[in-house]
């Protein structure tokens, strides 16, 4: 009988034993270095400052931010879309690539998924933060209430509420299911209180044949659900804009364009986060340039789609001979917001091109720095779409110019601090690499091999 290993290509060291894998992956847990504390402090400072800004806004009203009519959306929605976008790579890698049975996913998907969830948690802050009456933000959720009031389910914002909350729930379930066997492993590796906690998290997983059987089936279904979700969520987010008739928003191009952008920024963020991880924890056995190269290729593909979208937007605007449409796209390129536009173009369309060279694609420094540029570029892309279109709406007599002020920057900082807080906690309490699935990549221990070795 044949006992194939999934390890078609040699991306992990085949000499590894199952035990070794468990040991390596659980190694960094519950060990807090000075650097870690430093990072945590930084994060907490960020939260403090951001919180200070948010409280001001809560007390004095949205006016403390830099809004200038008719620019009614600004940095907050920009950042919301940015984080939702980041949140796409994780599920894409864990679900879509799972269905495609692509091997390189295994090493990175756990951390990527964690990133997804934290990113969505961060994004979810913003709809609440940006509404005029934060204390009423819960009115956006449909729940039976004595006011007998329901929402307008025809509003793209409601779609958004459903899409994001669904996406968050499903990714969380997916994430947790994946973690159960690894929680069991931690349970068996630790003693005392910690062990008890993980016993609880592992909800009595033993890895019996029956459990694995249903587990594999269910995992497949989750993946199958998550896949269209990945594509739908950012499409819905894009409809927040495309469904409005504001020039520069009102475009059928938006869903694919946004999804591509999301995956683009998401994969970049995965590189940004996982590279330090694999270096610091010495995990090159599990996460190495082979994975990053695949991520880089993903970025190249989606980046190309994005560039095409940029070009198409401008071409169609010009070709349509619609004065408002063309006016906006001229304005973006050469108007008050020219700098936003060109930061976006350079970071998203030009800089990533270096990855066409394999050398650049496999060089850690190059990968990391470019990935950060992509993140910056993608933030500015959203700002470019939102601010410029609103600053120059249809009636020139109502034009204005908007820049975020220190309050909004504070909230932006808050969002990053919030995200990294969760990620820092994650790497110390959960296995950032999927133990059980990495083991699948190894050739199973066989008696026959052992015999031959003995001869």
């Amino acid at each position: 009988m044949e006992y194939p290993s999934n390890n078609a290509e040699a991306m992990v060291d085949t000499e590894l034993s199952y035990r070794q894998v468990t040991t390596d992956v659980l190694e960094p847990l519950f060990k807090f270095s000075k650097a870690y504390w430093a990072g945590l402090t930084l994060v907490l400072l960020g939260l403090a400052y951001g919180g200070f800004c948010i409280i001001q806004q809560l007390v004095w009203g949205l006016g403390v931010a830099g809004y200038s009519q008719p620019v009614f959306w600004g940095l907050y929605i920009t950042t919301f879309v940015f984080w939702v976008g980041i949140g796409h790579a994780g599920t894409l890698i864990s679900a879509v690539l799972f269905l495609f049975r692509s091997k390189w996913r295994t090493g990175v998907y756990r951390a990527a998924e964690a990133m997804t969830i934290f990113a969505v948690m961060t994004a979810a802050l913003f709809p609440a933060l940006h509404v005029g009456r934060m204390w009423n933000a819960y009115w956006l959720f449909p729940y039976p209430n004595q006011r007998q009031l329901w929402q307008n389910f025809k509003s793209p914002l409601m779609w958004d509420v459903f899409a994001v909350s669904t996406y968050f729930t499903v990714s969380t379930i997916f994430f947790y299911i994946g973690l159960i066997p690894d929680f069991a492993a931690i349970r068996d590796r630790t003693r005392g209180a910690i062990s008890k906690v993980y016993a609880g998290l592992a909800i009595g997983w033993r890895g019996t044949d029956r459990q694995w059987r249903h587990y594999m089936a269910a995992y497949g279904f989750f993946a199958a659900f998550a896949t269209p979700l990945v594509l739908s969520v950012h499409s819905v987010v894009s409809w927040d804009f495309a469904m409005a008739q504001t020039a520069g928003w009102h475009s059928t191009l938006f869903p694919p364009y946004f999804v591509a952008g999301a995956i683009f920024s998401g994969c970049a963020m995965v590189i940004t986060l996982l590279m330090p991880l694999s270096v610091i924890f010495k995990w090159d056995k599990y996460i190495n340039e082979w994975h990053f190269e695949h991520l880089a290729k993903m970025c190249l593909l989606t980046g190309a789609i994005l560039t095409y979208a940029y070009v198409m937007e401008h071409f169609i605007a010009w070709y349509s001979d619609n004065p408002y449409e063309w006016g906006i796209f001229k304005y973006r390129a050469v108007g008050d917001y020219w700098w936003v536009f060109w930061i976006m173009v350079v970071c998203n369309c030009v800089i990533p091109l270096v990855w066409w060279w394999k050398k650049a694609r496999t060089n850690y420094w190059c990968l990391w720095i470019v990935s950060i540029f992509i993140n910056i570029g993608m933030w500015f892309e959203r700002f470019n779409i939102i601010a410029s279109s609103l600053a120059h709406q249809f009636d020139p007599a109502a034009w204005t110019y908007y820049l975020p002020n220190y309050i909004e920057i504070g909230v932006l900082i808050f969002s990053f601090a919030w995200f990294f807080l969760w990620f820092l906690l994650f790497v110390k309490v959960m296995p950032s690499v999927a133990i059980a699935e990495v083991k699948e990549l190894l050739p199973p221990p066989l008696r026959t091999d052992a015999k031959e070795a003995a001869k």
């Binding site: 009988m1 006992y3 034993s17 199952y18 035990r19 468990t22 449909p142 007998q148 329901w150 929402q151 307008n152 389910f153 025809k154 509003s155 779609w159 459903f162 899409a163 669904t166 499903v170 379930i173 997916f174 299911i177 066997p181 069991a184 492993a185 068996d188 590796r189 909800i203 009595g204 997983w205 033993r206 890895g207 019996t208 044949d209 029956r210 459990q211 694995w212 059987r213 249903h214 587990y215 594999m216 089936a217 269910a218 279904f221 989750f222 659900f225 269209p228 979700l229 739908s232 819905v236 409809w239 699935e437 083991k439 699948e440 199973p444 221990p445 066989l446 008696r447 026959t448 052992a450």
Partner: protein
């Protein structure tokens, strides 16, 4: 009655053992593995699909209907002339929410189905299986409800198949 517990470090020897067990007609046994190995499932369940999928289907259908019903009923409940003359129940506008709700409930039900069929969350299933190595690098097997001589016989069979450790655990009532 007593149970036999065996620990295998090699997959092939485990598989052989399962083969033998099945041919011997004794099906009351459980196998554990630190990772999913399809060989085991294939052997034990002869490839019949997991019933979890029925949960998934029900959930998805339920969610879809729920989603559309929520939109339509609430809009009909308080008829207002809103968005740009769209009819109260306008299918294109409700598709998104219908879809999201389909996915949401589909996942919820799948989760329920999974937990139900795996008998999770569980306090302890087989005391024999509470062994730290099992989640790490060895395969475990427990054959349940054997009378004493059958148990001894079984132990020797499993040893014969190269179990690195076998033991007969005490009588288990019920």
């Amino acid at each position: 009655m007593s149970n036999v517990k065996a620990i295998f470090s090699h997959l092939d020897s485990l598989i052989d053992a399962i083969d033998e067990l099945k041919s011997s007609g004794h099906t009351d046994f459980a196998v554990t593995a630190p990772l999913p190995r399809h060989e085991i499932e294939e052997l034990i369940y002869e490839g019949q699909p997991s019933p979890v999928r029925w949960f998934t289907l029900t959930g998805a259908l339920f969610g879809g209907i729920m989603g559309f019903a929520l939109c339509s009923i609430t809009h009909l409940n308080w008829p207002m002339i809103i968005p740009a003359g769209k009819p109260l129940v306008s299918i294109p506008a409700f598709i998104v929410i219908t879809f999201e709700s389909t996915v949401l409930w589909g996942c919820m039900f799948t989760l329920a189905g999974l937990l139900y069929h795996c008998r999770l969350p569980a306090k302890d299933m087989d005391p024999e299986l509470e062994d730290p190595r099992l989640s790490d690098d060895v395969f475990g097997m427990v054959v349940r409800n054997l009378d004493s001589e059958r148990a001894a016989e079984m132990k020797s069979i499993l040893d014969g198949h190269g179990a690195i450790e076998t033991s007969i655990t005490g009588v288990r009532l019920a």
